[in-house]
């Protein structure tokens, strides 16, 4: 068994409005000189510390948890799961 840090990023699916990201883009970043930025999406990040046999099993276990206890609402959100050695 090894310890892994698993980063879960929850963000709105494409097509679901993200007024927070839009406000950060339009009223903060683009207000200055950073006009090369075309999009900002806000998201929520959770970092799990988990004991598992492998990176793959850590990824699968966290995905299972996300689906089982509705860490994200699949109607409007998606999760991205990234595993790192602790």
């Amino acid at each position: 068994m090894a310890t892994f840090n698993v980063q879960v990023t929850i963000e709105n699916k494409p097509g679901i409005s993200d007024p927070e990201g839009e406000t950060i883009l339009n009223d903060l970043v683009l207000r200055g000189k950073y006009d090369s930025v075309s999009k900002i999406k806000s998201a929520k990040m959770l970092r799990f510390t988990i004991e598992e046999n492998s990176k793959e099993s850590a990824q699968l276990k966290v995905q299972e948890i996300c689906d089982d206890v509705r860490i994200f609402n699949p109607l409007v959100s998606k999760v991205t799961i990234d595993v790192f050695d602790a």
Binding site: I16, S17, P19, E20, V69, R70, N73, L75
Partner: protein, 226 residues
């Protein structure tokens, strides 16, 4: 005739709801803490507003996993009237008892203001005393009150007459201005505005009678003469 008011950690409209049920409409109401079951002899269940679990992760999702929700689910299947107000509505959608989801208001602000609702379905246990299209002046108080459902769900809500209330104006970006929906059987109703804050003339500067009809509908449904 007993009405259960379910209390979660962070509920804050439970006492207002209890007061309205008991002092205004003379019903036998009882609080039920979320980690205990509901007794069999309950005739209606209300999930009040508030900030269960401090809205952590997202409004309603943690409370939707509370032990009491399994009993609420069973009661919904038996056809018992169930009303979720504000955070109660959020809990009902997160637990799958009602379709759709509540997202952050378009303004990203916590909105606390009077709105006008339009009654779209007067066949539910909480709307049977209304005329169709009747207007209800009623306050909202939420940060995540924008109702969202995908196009397919919106079509089926319309087809099955599951849209119970709409805002008369665009308030927060809700799909089709939806403010309240019911399940397919019509016995589970969720709404973002707060009827318990609108039924007494002392605290309703506009007109308290329409909001009162929500509770009078429940009395009618339960066969109680007030």
């Amino acid at each position: 005739m007993k009405v259960g008011v379910v209390v979660f950690p962070g509920s804050n409209c439970d006492r207002d709801m209890f007061h309205v049920l008991t002092d205004v409409f003379h019903l036998d109401a009882q609080y039920y803490w979320h980690d205990k079951g509901l007794p069999e002899n309950i005739d209606a269940v209300i999930l009040p507003g508030g900030f269960s679990y401090g809205d952590r992760l997202r409004a309603g999702v943690i409370a939707a996993h509370s032990p009491v929700i399994k009993d609420v689910q069973k009661m919904s299947e038996k056809g018992i009237p169930i009303l979720g107000v504000c955070n109660g509505f959020q809990i009902l959608v997160e637990s799958g008892l009602l379709p759709g989801v509540l997202l952050k208001n378009d303004s990203l602000n916590f909105m606390c203001e009077w709105t006008d609702l339009i009654v779209e379905n007067n066949q539910t246990p909480f709307t049977n005393q209304f005329e169709l299209n009747q207007k209800i002046p009623i306050p909202i108080a939420n940060g995540e009150g924008k109702y969202f459902a995908d196009d397919e769900t919106l079509k089926s809500l319309q087809k099955n007459n599951q849209i119970v209330f709409r805002y008369s104006d665009v308030v927060n970006g809700s799909s089709n201005r939806i403010a309240g929906v019911c399940n397919e059987d019509g016995n589970v109703v969720g709404m973002m505005p707060h009827p318990e804050r609108a039924v007494e003339s002392e605290i309703n500067p506009i007109d308290n009678k329409p909001s009162s009809l929500i509770f009078e509908s429940l009395l009618e449904q339960m066969g109680v003469k007030n």
